[in-house]
Amino acid sequence: MLCNWKAMCVNRENILALRGLTMKYKSVVAVDNLSFAVEKGSICGLIGTNGAGKSTVVNMISGSSKPTSGEIIFKGARLDKLSPDRIAGLGVARTFQNLRIFGKLSALDNVRIAAQARHSYNFAQMALGTPHYRSQERAITESAQRILHRMGIGHYAEAEAGSLPYGHQRRLEIARCLALEPELLLLDEPAAGMNPNESVSLARDIRRVREETGTTILLIEHDMSVVMSLCEYIYVMDFGILIGEGDPDTIRRDPEVIRAYLGAEREYA
C-alpha cells in the first residue's frame, strides 16, 4: 500500500491536495479513492494507461465534472463544489486533451479573452468610454501580445486560431492559460500529436514558464520523454487508483509501474 499522505506531511507547502477523490458513473468507477498532493512551484506529472482516469482527475480539479465523493483543496479552499469559472478565478488554468481553442477568433483574441480576467471594467465604464476602460483595454492587448511572443507565436497574433499549424495551436492554448496568471496550471496531454522536435521544444517552454512565473504545473502526458525530462515528481494511475509515485528514477524502476504502464521489463530513458 502506498502512503501518499507522506507528501502532505512533509514540511514543504502543497498547493493542491486531493483526498479520497472518487468518481463513479453508474457502474463504472473511473477514479477510486484517490489521494495525492502537488508541491507548490513544482512540475508534477500524472501518467497512466488510457482509461486510467487521469483526464477525469483533471476535469474534477478544474470543475468540469463534480466528484462523487472526496475533496479537492487548493490553497486551503475547497474546489470540488465550485463552478469552473469560479475555479479559474481562484487561479487554476487548464488546457484540454482535445484542444479547445476558439478556432474562429484570432490568436490574439483568444489570449485577450483570458487576459481580460486580470484587467476588468464594468458596463457603465465601457459604455461611456472612460479613461479606465481605455487603459484597461490597452493593458489587455499588450499583455496578450507579450504572452504570445513569449510562447513564440507572436507573429501569428492576427491569424485565425483554427488556421495555425497544430503545434502552434497547442502553444496558443497554453498562452491563453498564462494570461490568467494562474498559480496552478493543468496541462492535459499538451504534447499529443507532436513530433519529437516539437515535444522537446514544448518541454523547454514549459520549464521556462515555471522558471519565469513560479507557477505550479500538473502535467498529464503519454509522451515519456517529456514526462521524464520535465517532471520532478510523478504519480502513476491505473484503473482509477494510484499505483506508484516518486521522482523519475524511482518510477522508471518501479516494477508495478513497469508492468502496468510501460510494458513488462522495458526501461524508458
Binding site: S64, A88, F102, G129, E158, L180
Partner: protein, 388 residues
C-alpha cells in the same frame, strides 16, 4: 482597386457618414411627410434589429421575443410622456400615481429602456437556462405572456383597445440621434471584453468557463441590453405612430425584426442597415401590387398579404443560399461610422491623395506603364496600412 477604395478613410466617411446625413437632411427639409415617416421607421427598425443581433448573432441566444420588449417600451414610454389629463381621459380607471407620473421625452425614453431591461431580468432567469430551440419557444411564450398582461390590465393600459394620443416626439433628427447613440454603445460593447466573452461562449462555452467566463452572467447581460434597446425602439415607435395596442407587439412584429436581422446578417451590427432597409422599403413598393394591377390585359385582383409572402420567400432563399445575410460577418458600416481609422484618417493628407489617385485610376483607366507602376505602389501602401 475596389478594395483600396473601400479601405480609404475618406471614402468611408463619404459613403457611410456624409452621404447618408446629406440625404437625411434633404428628406427632412424637402420631402413630403409620408416619406419622412417611412425613413424614421427605417431608423427605428435599425435600432430594433441591432438590438436583436446582440442576442441572436453575438450571444448565440436565439430570441423571437423582441416585440415583447418593444411593447413594454412603447407602453412605458407613452405612459410617462402623456399628460395626466390625457391619461385620465384615455384610460378609464387609471390609478393616480400612474396618471401623475410624467417625464420629458428623453428621460422617458431611458426609463422605457430600463423597463424593458427589468422585464428581461425577470424572464431571463427561466428562459436563459434553456438553449437552442427550447429557448426560442420560451421567448415566444414570453411575448404571449406580455401581451396577456397588457390586454388584461385595462386600468393601466386600457386593455386590448390600446392607447392613442401621445405626442409625435419621434422626429427625424431625434430618432437619428438616438440611433447613432444606440449604435455607438452597442458597437463599443461588441468590441470590448463583453463582445469577446460572448464570442468565446458562442464558440465553446466550456472552454470559456475554464477561462473564468461565467456564461450565465454574460448571456443575461446580452439579453438585458438587447431588451433595453428593444424597448427604446418601442417607445420611439409609439411616439411616431401615436397609437399603441397589445396586438401590435406580437408574433408578426417579432418576425419582422427577425427577418431584418437575418436578411441583413445576424452576426453583425452593420447588418441592421441592409436588413431594415429591405423590410422597411420593399413592402412600400409591393403595396401597389397588393391593391391589384393590370398586366398583359389580365387584372390581377387585390393580393392581400402579397408583401408578406414575397418577404417570406426571399427569407427562405436567403437562408438557403446566403446564410450570413447581406453583411455576412463584415462590420464594415458600423466600423466605418465610428472607427478611429475613419476619423483619424480624415486628418491625414495621404488619405486625400490616395483617394484622388484611386478615382483617377477608375475614371481614366489608363494602362500606361508609368501609371501601372504608380498603381502597384499605391496598392502596396494601402495593403500596409490595412495590416497596421
Amino acid at each position: 482597386m475596389a478594395k483600396a477604395l473601400f479601405a480609404n478613410p475618406l471614402f468611408k466617411f463619404l459613403a457611410v457618414v456624409a452621404a447618408p446625413v446629406a440625404a437625411l437632411l434633404y428628406i427632412y427639409i424637402g420631402v413630403a411627410e409620408y416619406y419622412q415617416i417611412v425613413v424614421v421607421m427605417f431608423m427605428i427598425n435599425v435600432i430594433l434589429t441591432a438590438s436583436l443581433n446582440i442576442t441572436n448573432g453575438f450571444a448565440g441566444i436565439f430570441s423571437m421575443g423582441q416585440a415583447g420588449f418593444m411593447g413594454i417600451g412603447a407602453y412605458a414610454g407613452s405612459l410617462l410622456t402623456m399628460t395626466a389629463e390625457l391619461k385620465f381621459s384615455r384610460i378609464p380607471g387609471i390609478p393616480a400615481w400612474l396618471a401623475e407620473a410624467h417625464l420629458p421625452f428623453i428621460p422617458a425614453l431611458v426609463a422605457a429602456g430600463l423597463a424593458g431591461a427589468a422585464v428581461a431580468v425577470v424572464f431571463g432567469f427561466p428562459v436563459l437556462r434553456a438553449k437552442g430551440h427550447y429557448l426560442a419557444v420560451m421567448t415566444l411564450g414570453m411575448i404571449i405572456i406580455i401581451k396577456a398582461v397588457l390586454d388584461n390590465n385595462a386600468h393601466l393600459t386600457n386593455g386590448a383597445k390600446g392607447i392613442s394620443g401621445m405626442e409625435r416626439f419621434s422626429t427625424l433628427p431625434m430618432v437619428f440621434a438616438v440611433m447613432i447613440v444606440s449604435l455607438f454603445v452597442l458597437h463599443r460593447m461588441t468590441k470590448s471584453a463583453f463582445g469577446r466573452s460572448m464570442a468565446a461562449i458562442r464558440s465553446d462555452a466550456d472552454a470559456a468557463a475554464s477561462l473564468g467566463i461565467n456564461a450565465t452572467k454574460y448571456r443575461m447581460t446580452a439579453f438585458v441590453v438587447s431588451a433595453f434597446f428593444g424597448a427604446v425602439g418601442g417607445s420611439l415607435w409609439a411616439h411616431l405612430q401615436q397609437t399603441i395596442a397589445p396586438s401590435l407587439f406580437y408574433f408578426k412584429e417579432s418576425f419582422s425584426i427577425l427577418e431584418m436581422s437575418v436578411l441583413g446578417g445576424m452576426g453583425t451590427l452593420s447588418g441592421a442597415f441592409p436588413g431594415a432597409a429591405i423590410v422597411t422599403f420593399l413592402p412600400q413598393f409591393l403595396a401597389n401590387a397588393e391593391n391589384g394591377f393590370r398586366v398583359f390585359g389580365f387584372t390581377v385582383p387585390a393580393l392581400n398579404g402579397l408583401s408578406n409572402i414575397v418577404m417570406s420567400v426571399i427569407f427562405i432563399l436567403v437562408i438557403i443560399r446566403w446564410r450570413g445575410g447581406v453583411m455576412r460577418s463584415s462590420e464594415y458600416i458600423v466600423d466605418a461610422m465610428f472607427g478611429r481609422d475613419t476619423w483619424a484618417g480624415l486628418l491625414r493628407k495621404e488619405t486625400y491623395v490616395d483617394f484622388w489617385n484611386i478615382l483617377r485610376e477608375g475614371l481614366f483607366k489608363n494602362n500606361n506603364p508609368h501609371r501601372l507602376e504608380e498603381k502597384s505602389k499605391q496598392e502596396e501602401k494601402d495593403h500596409e496600412k490595412e495590416n497596421r
